[in-house]
């Protein structure tokens, strides 16, 4: 959009509720502002807060789509607000907080607690084989393996996949895309000492990959375009393999 073109007047319909204010009731507020070139929702929301309603709550930190703070429902779809250009949206823009997370206020939700609990539940850390030896040269790893782990490590825990998940919206224990991806990331890491059998309960339980109902909205909305379909397939194959192994062990 050039400076000389007619600029659009954008209409924002924003969910409002302040749980700390006993007079506050959930409702929608309407704000209007003139669109500017390369305007993102980060720019627009800050403009609304600074010029129109200083009480408006939302979260941003890096404003470059890497920290995962600003997930919200943009016209019905979970998205990172900082990288969403208004030019890609119609004149009316409806914003809601992400569902499945506890509301802090307005568009701000508590993703921190959800992800910490997920990390504890899945023990999302390297289960070391040996303690760290500060004097030793690093263990070798092929660059291809490193690249594959990095691909899984790219998740920024924004919560868009969780919010988009049909199951996570009704079952708060479901690991959802981010949780399953995290499990797969450690499962494929040769430095992690857990065996497939150790993983079985995490992956195959009611919260795990077989509970997924396969609508794959997670893959559609992931701002990092993580290959979640491949991730779930990987988890299923590894888990079933583990089951056969477990049976064979018993039989033996």
């Amino acid at each position: 959009m050039s400076d000389t073109e007619q600029r659009r007047r954008l209409r924002f319909e924003i969910f409002r509720y302040n749980p700390e204010d006993e007079n506050s009731e959930p409702h929608m507020d309407v704000f209007e502002l003139e669109e500017a070139p390369f305007m993102t929702l980060y720019i627009a929301l800050n403009q609304i807060r600074e010029k129109q309603d200083p009480g408006l709550q939302f979260d941003f930190a890096c404003r470059s789509a890497i920290c995962g703070s600003c997930g919200m429902m943009v016209n019905g779809r979970p998205a990172l607000a900082c990288r969403t250009l208004t030019a890609d949206l119609p004149e009316t823009i409806q914003l809601y907080p992400l569902p499945t997370f506890k509301l802090v206020g307005d568009l701000s939700v508590d993703t921190g607690t959800w992800f910490r609990e997920m990390a504890e539940k899945t023990e999302a850390w390297i289960h070391e084989r040996l303690p760290f030896d500060p004097d030793a040269v690093e263990d070798r790893m092929s660059d291809d393996v490193a690249a594959a782990i990095y691909e899984g490590d790219r998740c920024i825990e924004c919560g868009c996949c969780v919010a988009s998940c049909g199951l996570a919206n009704v079952d708060e224990d479901f690991l959802a895309g981010a949780g399953l991806n995290r499990v797969a990331r450690f499962m494929m890491d040769p430095r992690d000492g857990r065996s497939d059998a150790d993983w079985f309960d995490v992956v195959a339980g009611e919260q795990g990959v077989f509970a997924c109902i396969g609508m794959m909205a997670c893959a559609d909305v992931c701002p990092k375009e993580l290959p979640l379909l491949d991730v779930y397939a990987y988890l299923r194959r590894r888990t079933l393999g583990a089951r056969f192994v477990a049976k064979a062990d018993k039989a033996g």
């Binding site: 600074e50 200083p54 023990e123 040269v137 990095y150 490590d153 890491d189």
Partner: protein, 648 residues
């Protein structure tokens, strides 16, 4: 609802890499640690570090011959001799262990591929055989201001990968993290720090944490440059600010502010130095690679201060590309090819697509220098113990340890967070073992009441006063345009006047939001005065320093002056004092004599004192300026003369 008074062994303020690594060390030693973080810790700004983490592993062909001594030399030269040379020595020696420890924590470092590799070096395409016996070791890429390839990396998401790995250790150890919590004042009696008063950003309430040891790890203060920064919105210098408020803890070298050469125009979003390290060019409006003539030896890979100045000058000379947001230059990485960009520089690919709608394999990237890093911060000794206040520590960007001096090398801060986190964490743990909790509840409740009164005062103000966001924007304009890349006495004097006016405005500003609970306008208003005070220390430090050193460049004093300014600025400014007090301490014991950096200007005013004489009273002088005793004697880790083996 939380209790209004919480006790713990170690309180860490800040959940980025430095704070978390420090907390891990304390927890591993058996102490209870509590981390406060403005955001869930994985959203801390450490996650934005892209291109690499410096450590002299010497695994790839272009890193051959690298070692901690070469890394030390590069770091001190990069600092323009502003660094503490003992700290730079310790840092360079321990960086390889810190990188390998991250591998142990799970970071998927890019690895060396043995056999033929295709690289771009100084504009040339070259094939280099990586040794087959190096296959699978942690790889390195080139960065600015270094003699060897030394930056270990995970694509262009190195900080992200490191932060996730370190945070997973925090979870494993069961360390308590209180996110959406901001320390707003330190608890102290003028000589001993015993914790902090905290604002709960989930509901606007306050509580106090009393601890044996308190660590400031809040990162930089880039947001005092308003929108002209690559920093996250949370980098408002809250930790440095509450340390300054004590009046007894000095901040060091606040005028040493780094401007990163390549941030996106106009948003200021970082585009990693790894782009130039991997062979990218800077172009002006005529498509000329102006850095080749400006810096024949290092070209685009001179240090950041030098490259930023050449870029700014190029734009001032009319060779920038005009835009509605002012001029910019181009970063060209097209020749690196789509496959390289979508693997080794994936995050750059994403950022270009998302924020300027460009395909960097086919199109140029609009860039300009923007505030990026705070070399200055809470002045600490080599243990991370703050000057003037026992039991208070600082680590990472929030601190002035001081290994960066007046210019930090790219990739050295990511290393610093882990190396200093390990070292300072150990000292914090020792302190917590040797000192009982000083539970002076009277002190805590008085400080709590004071914090609550401040919030209530803001709410009570009425009438038509100035707006806090307008004050913030005016501060940013003043800082970028008068305390920026090129500085001079007249403009700095104007900046001091304008910031003084803004401080006055801040005292009369009025909130328009009186909502209970989170109230984002109030939360920001409570930080604003501290930000203005930090800005003032930067401006006053810059005005007083009548020389040019590293990122501090005075057009009216263009030479580095080792005769008069081979020192570190200290500034103290109690919350109730009208003006800051500047003083100067020696940078530290000097082993590598001041000389040419190998890039930038070779002109300078030479030191008149002998090194022997200079070094004689460094210890006493620093102690006189508030340095507390370190566990090991000052200077004990210096490798005197080791650099001679490298420089010949």
């Amino acid at each position: 609802m939380t209790s209004r008074l919480v006790t713990t062994d170690v309180l860490v303020i800040g959940g980025g890499l430095a704070g978390e690594r420090c907390a891990i060390e304390a927890a591993a030693a058996g102490h209870e640690a509590v981390i406060l973080s403005l955001v869930p810790p994985r959203r801390s700004h450490s996650c934005a570090a892209q291109g690499g983490m410096q450590a002299s592993l010497a695994n790839c062909a272009k890193a051959a011959g690298d070692n901690p001594t070469v890394h030390f030399l590069d770091t001190v030269r990069g600092s323009d001799w502003g660094a503490d040379q003992e700290v730079a020595t310790i840092f360079a020696e321990e960086a390889p262990t810190a990188v390998r420890e991250l591998a142990h924590f799970g970071v998927p470092w890019s690895r060396v591929r043995g056999g033929k590799n295709h690289y771009f070096i100084k504009g040339e395409e070259v094939d280099i055989d990586e040794a087959l016996e190096s296959d699978g070791l942690i790889g390195q890429r080139d960065f600015g201001g270094t003699a060897k390839w030394r930056a270990c990396y995970a694509a262009a998401g190195t900080g992200h990968a490191a932060l996730y790995a370190v945070d997973s250790e925090v979870v494993r150890l069961g360390i308590t993290v209180r996110d959406r919590a901001e320390a707003v004042a330190l608890l102290h009696d003028g000589s001993r720090c015993v914790g902090a008063v905290v604002r709960d950003l989930r509901n606007g309430s306050h509580f106090a944490v009393m601890a044996k040891a308190t660590v400031i790890a809040t990162g930089g203060y880039g947001r005092i440059y308003g929108q002209y920064t690559s920093n996250a919105t949370i980098n408002e210098g809250t930790g440095a600010s509450i340390a300054l408020d004590t009046g007894v803890v000095p901040l060091g070298n606040m005028e040493a502010v780094q401007f990163h050469p390549t941030t996106l125009s106009p948003s200021g979003i970082l585009v990693t130095e790894g782009c130039r390290g991997d062979g990218g060019y800077l172009l002006d409006k005529n498509g000329d690679r102006f850095m080749v003539e400006a810096e024949p030896e290092k070209q685009e890979l001179a240090s950041r201060d030098v490259v930023s100045r050449h870029m700014q000058q190029r734009m001032r000379d009319g060779f920038g590309i005009d835009s509605p947001y002012g001029p910019h230059l181009w970063l060209d990485i097209r020749h690196l090819g789509e496959e390289h960009l979508r693997t080794k520089l994936l995050e750059v690919w994403d950022i270009c697509r998302d924020f300027v709608g460009r395909n960097p394999a086919k199109e140029l990237i609009p860039v300009r220098p923007t505030q990026h890093y705070s070399m200055g911060g809470v002045r600490v000794n080599k243990d991370g113990q703050a000057y003037g206040l026992s039991g208070l520590f600082a680590v990472g960007e929030a601190s002035c340890w001081d290994m960066h001096g007046f210019n930090r090398l790219g990739g050295n801060s990511l290393s610093e967070t882990l190396v200093s986190g390990r070292i300072v964490g150990r000292r914090v743990a020792e302190f917590a073992s040797g000192n009982a909790l000083k539970a002076d509840t009277g002190l805590a409740f008085a400080a709590l009441a004071d914090a609550e009164r401040k919030a209530a005062d803001w709410r009570a103000r009425t009438g038509a006063g100035p707006n806090v966001y307008e004050i913030r924007d005016a501060m940013g304009e003043t800082m970028m345009h008068k305390v920026g890349i090129f500085r001079n006495g007249d403009e700095l004097q104007e900046a001091v006047g304008e910031l003084g006016q803004l401080l006055d405005d801040c005292d009369h500003a009025v909130l328009r939001c009186k909502d209970p609970g989170v109230n984002p306008e109030l939360a920001f208003a409570l930080r604003l005065k501290g930000m203005l005070r930090l800005a003032m220390t930067v401006a006053k430090g810059a005005l007083a320093r009548t020389e040019s050193r590293g990122a501090h460049y005075r057009t009216d004093y263009p030479l580095r002056n080792d005769a008069e300014w081979l020192n570190r600025t200290l500034v103290r400014w109690g919350a109730n004092d009208s003006d800051p007090t500047l003083s100067y301490e020696p940078t530290g014991i000097i082993d590598l004599p001041p000389g040419h950096r190998g890039y930038g200007s070779d002109e300078r005013i030479e030191m008149t004192d002998t090194l022997e004489h200079h070094n004689e009273d460094v210890l006493q002088e620093q102690a006189r300026h508030g340095r507390l005793a370190s566990t090991e004697e000052m200077g004990s880790r210096l490798r005197r003369g080791a650099w001679k083996a490298v420089t010949g």
